[in-house]
């Protein structure tokens, strides 16, 4: 019998064993986390051994260790990027001062809110995706789903660590509440709208990981600039993991398009009914899914004008995407930014104070990044000789948050009447029939190297393994 090394119970690089109180608190939270995983984590996966990437340290050699593990045994832990004792705050009113290692009292409430909101999204997406394993289009995809799930779990750990370490009893209560809210629950839903939507099928999952995990990338990037150093360091490390999630989405949609184009060329048709009859997803449906996920995701950036955004920036809590690479004064007082509003039935731009428009700045950065990927999807169609192109809808389309909420707007940016919206809605957003059709294709394919008929195999496997590698061993 070897003695249990308690410092290893929660893998970490934050000297957890030196803070016994914190260690005990987190070890008390750990069983609740495992119970949450068992209750609402990936369905029917308890005995699977999954070829997962596990971080054992934050250096390049340590954070991508691959091997078959049971997901319950995945080494969820706490990893922060290395610190720099000399790090200075590089934006806002405290520019040039030393970064904070502890939470300043005046920013406590705001920082807590930021961390809880970010933390709440992590378990939410696991809950949203819990049934997808039952309809995986291949063993490779199943593995990718599970990899995302365990990493979202680790991201929850990252936020819970900050709450426990820096926010005392409030933090511990918030950490408990993160496990009590449930995605889509009538009485106790997740905080943000997009995280209460269903992820009913794999096309929705790919769109979600492409668009919504990209929102995660931008939020994490903004927090990685924070004057609160532990938050900056923990989100920096999370970003390296987030990259895989976006890859799953981008390559997933790309493979769906590859297969659809192949079917269209084989049958020499662009008739959606014929494409569907052949077991592939027609381009119209893909575009409607894209419209939905894109519009729901850009709502996550918040109101176009927000005094909170200004406060978060000026006080150094949350920067802009790639703050360090920008060449302005990093204080932004007296500067303006153009936002959209509707006047007399028309969209017009108006100048508003930049500080208040920082949600919009981040949203616009996200849009530019999203469009680049959609262009790469279009290359798949172009190469296959298909004339159709996917587009992202206008940013005022189907919005529920901010000045553009409730405006009836077509994807190409026209303000439309209620009547036209009702008439055209089914061309712009997925219909119950679309969902039913896509659901009808969702059959489980899990023999190594086999793929469902609606999706092409990937170009290469994970970690240089062959595509037909046994990514999941079913126990």
């Amino acid at each position: 019998m070897s003695t249990i090394n308690y410092s290893e119970k929660i893998p970490n690089n934050v000297n957890l064993s030196e803070d016994r109180t914190l260690q005990r608190a987190l070890e008390g939270w750990q069983p609740n986390f495992i119970n949450w995983w068992d209750d609402v984590g990936p369905e029917g996966s308890t005995n699977h051994e999954v070829y997962l990437r596990t971080a054992v340290s934050v250096d390049p050699q340590g954070w991508a260790q691959f091997g078959h593990v049971k997901m319950r045994d995945y080494r969820w832990g706490i990893f922060l990027n290395p610190g720099d004792a000399e790090r200075k705050i590089h934006f806002g009113d405290n520019l040039g001062e030393k970064a904070w290692q502890d939470v300043p009292g005046e920013h406590r409430a705001n920082l807590r809110r930021i961390i809880v909101t970010q933390g709440d999204t992590e378990p939410a997406s696991v809950e949203q995706q819990r049934h997808l394993g039952l309809t995986a289009p291949s063993m490779y995809d199943l593995r990718n789903l599970f990899q995302i799930n365990v990493e979202e779990g680790r991201h929850l750990w990252a936020m819970v660590y900050l709450l426990h370490k820096h926010f005392g009893r409030d933090g511990r209560e918030e950490a408990e509440a993160l496990l009590q809210r449930t995605s889509g629950d009538q009485d106790n839903p997740r905080i943000l709208g997009a995280f209460n939507e269903k992820t009913p099928d794999w096309l929705a999952f790919f769109m979600f990981t492409y668009f919504t995990d990209r929102d995660g990338k931008f939020q994490l990037s903004a927090l990685a600039e924070s004057a609160f150093d532990p938050l900056a360091r923990t989100t920096k490390f999370m970003l390296t993991e987030e990259a895989h999630h976006m890859f799953v989405g981008e390559s997933g949609v790309s493979r769906v398009l590859t297969r659809t184009a192949q079917v269209m060329n084989e049958l020499k048709t662009d008739d959606p009914a014929k494409v569907r009859a052949a077991g592939a997803i027609d381009l119209g449906t893909i575009q409607r899914y894209l419209n939905f996920h894109y519009s729901v995701t850009i709502d996550l950036f918040g109101a176009d004008q927000s005094s909170n955004a200004a406060i978060f920036y000026s006080s150094g809590l949350k920067g802009r995407y790639e703050e360090g690479k920008r060449s302005d004064d990093h204080v932004l007082k007296g500067q303006t930014y153009k936002v959209l509003e509707v006047k007399d039935g028309k969209l017009v731009e108006k100048d508003v104070p930049m500080l208040n428009a920082l949600n919009e700045v981040l949203r616009d950065d996200f849009i530019a990044d999203s469009v680049a990927g959609v262009n790469r999807w279009n290359k798949v169609l172009e190469k296959a000789g298909i004339p159709t192109r996917l587009t992202v809808p206008h940013k005022a389309f189907n919005r529920q948050i901010g000045a553009l909420a409730g405006i009836k707007m077509s994807p190409d940016g026209r303000v439309v009447s209620e009547a036209e919206w009702e008439a055209k809605k089914s061309e712009w957003l997925p219909t119950p029939e679309d969902f039913a059709f896509v659901a009808s294709l969702m059959g489980r394919v899990v023999d190594p190297g086999k793929f469902a008929g609606w999706i092409a195999p990937p170009v290469m496997g994970i970690n240089r393994q062959p595509v037909d590698f046994e990514y999941v061993r079913f126990g």
């Binding site: 954070w63 890859f247 390559s251 990927g373 970690n463």
Partner: protein, 433 residues
């Protein structure tokens, strides 16, 4: 590995723009800031990339793991790569041929008797791609390597070492007028930490500036001494460096770093970065076998591994496995460490030389020597405790891997299965330049 910048053909590291999702992980993780991007592509600067491989496993897409053999002077520039919509194909061999002829130790792979079988490599190309079989993971019993302790992204950018030894290790160069020699140079780090393992390399920053006034970029050299120092228990290490005196067209050119290093006097100071490399490392478990295949200064890591095993054996506390060496050069006179190698006990290491230009003798390359020893190699390759290391000129890599394939197939085994296992299990390591 020898000075990348001074060799005719480099293995250029490239990113596949069709697979890359622009997640920025590689750029964030690269210790020498060799990766940059614009709105379209992420690209690698060949003059900065030191092949440390830190960016490989974190890449979620695999797009980072692409390599093209390129004449050094024609390496794809950043500007070219930024415009790419897809990766260019490998240059046809005839375009690369002749580029290494000027090098005295270039062993041109003989045409195999049968055309190589078509192999599906990870890049999807339907040609035999020897580098596709190279492992990116270290042996399971490798010691933990420290890397990039000093460099552009480290707290301390460079560390100063002192030259404590500089000797010629070839017969060539003893007489006036033939200074095409190879030197064994010992650097001491004093009190500064510089922990290394056999198989790792360091970067040397030559003093001064280049023709256009830029600071010289670092040149990389493999370490030729074991982990506990050139002199056991001392904080020093050795390098094997050959002077570069002509370019690949045979025109006179003095390699900046190699001549700077070979001309150093004891007591001189050298700016160093590194160490580099986390996969070309030796196994440490008892009875593990090591097969080493090298040409010229590619012998540096082999000397390091051999010497570590020799010291372990002398301690009497370690049961080592078989050591087998295939060592190629033009002539015996040009072979570094020929003398010391001869004095190693035969029951400790099984040495096979291959000289390509011994007067009156037929040309012999390392792969010929390997085929002659097929029976023993077949035994070794099937033993999971055997690890293969190839270091030297890029032009020999394919011939060596093909010879290994022939050995495997000759033993009635399936090369794809065995080659795949060698790669996966960190048992075949290729370091060619």
């Amino acid at each position: 590995m020898n000075a990348i910048a001074e060799t005719a053909v480099i293995k250029q590291h490239l990113i596949d723009p069709e697979i890359c999702i622009r997640c920025n992980t590689c750029e964030a993780i690269c210790p020498v800031q060799a990766i940059t991007h614009d709105n379209l592509n992420y690209v690698v600067d060949a003059s900065k990339c030191n092949l440390c491989m830190d960016c490989i496993s974190p890449c979620p897409t695999g797009s980072i793991d692409n390599w093209r053999s390129m004449p050094r002077i024609r390496a794809y520039s950043i500007e070219e790569q930024l415009k790419w919509e897809e990766l260019p194909a490998e240059l046809p061999p005839e375009e690369l041929e002749g580029l290494v002829d000027a090098d005295p130790e270039a062993a041109v792979a003989p045409t195999p008797a049968a055309p190589p079988a078509v192999v599906k490599d990870p890049s999807g190309q339907e040609t035999f791609n020897s580098s596709a079989f190279g492992a990116t993971l270290p042996p399971w019993s490798a010691a933990h390597a420290y890397s990039n302790i000093y460099g552009p992204k480290a707290t301390q950018k460079t560390v100063t070492a002192t030259v404590v030894g500089n000797v010629r290790v070839t017969e060539v160069g003893k007489t006036a007028g033939s200074d095409y020699d190879t030197h064994h140079i010992v650097l001491d780090f004093g009190a500064m930490p510089f922990p290394v393992l056999e198989g790792q390399s360091i970067g040397v920053v030559p003093p001064g500036v280049d023709d256009i006034g830029r600071k010289h970029h670092p040149r990389q050299y493999s370490i030729a001494s074991p982990r506990n120092g050139e002199r056991p228990g001392y904080n020093n290490l050795s390098l094997t460096i050959k002077r570069v005196l002509q370019d690949h067209d045979g025109d006179p050119v003095r390699g900046v770093a190699s001549n700077y290093m070979c001309d150093l006097q004891v007591g001189d100071k050298v700016e160093v970065i590194g160490p580099f490399g986390t996969s070309f490392l030796m196994p440490n478990h008892p009875r593990s076998n090591i097969v080493m295949i090298c040409t010229g200064t590619g012998s540096a890591p082999m000397r390091a591994m051999t010497e570590w095993r020799r010291r372990l054996r002398a301690s009497g506390k370690f049961e080592g496995g078989k050591l087998m060496l295939f060592f190629g050069a033009r002539t015996q006179e040009e072979l570094p460490y020929f003398g010391p190698l001869q004095s190693l006990p035969k029951d400790f290491i099984d040495i096979n030389f291959a000289f390509s230009r011994t007067p009156g003798q037929p040309k012999r390359y390392v792969q010929d020597a390997m085929r002659e020893r097929a029976a023993d190699l077949a035994q070794l390759v099937q033993d999971p405790n055997t690890f293969f290391y190839v270091c030297g000129l890029k032009s020999m890599e394919e011939g060596v891997v093909l010879a290994l394939r022939d050995v495997v197939q000759g033993a009635g085994l399936n090369w794809d299965t065995v080659g795949g296992a060698l790669k996966r299990e960190g048992r075949l390591h290729l370091e060619t330049y």
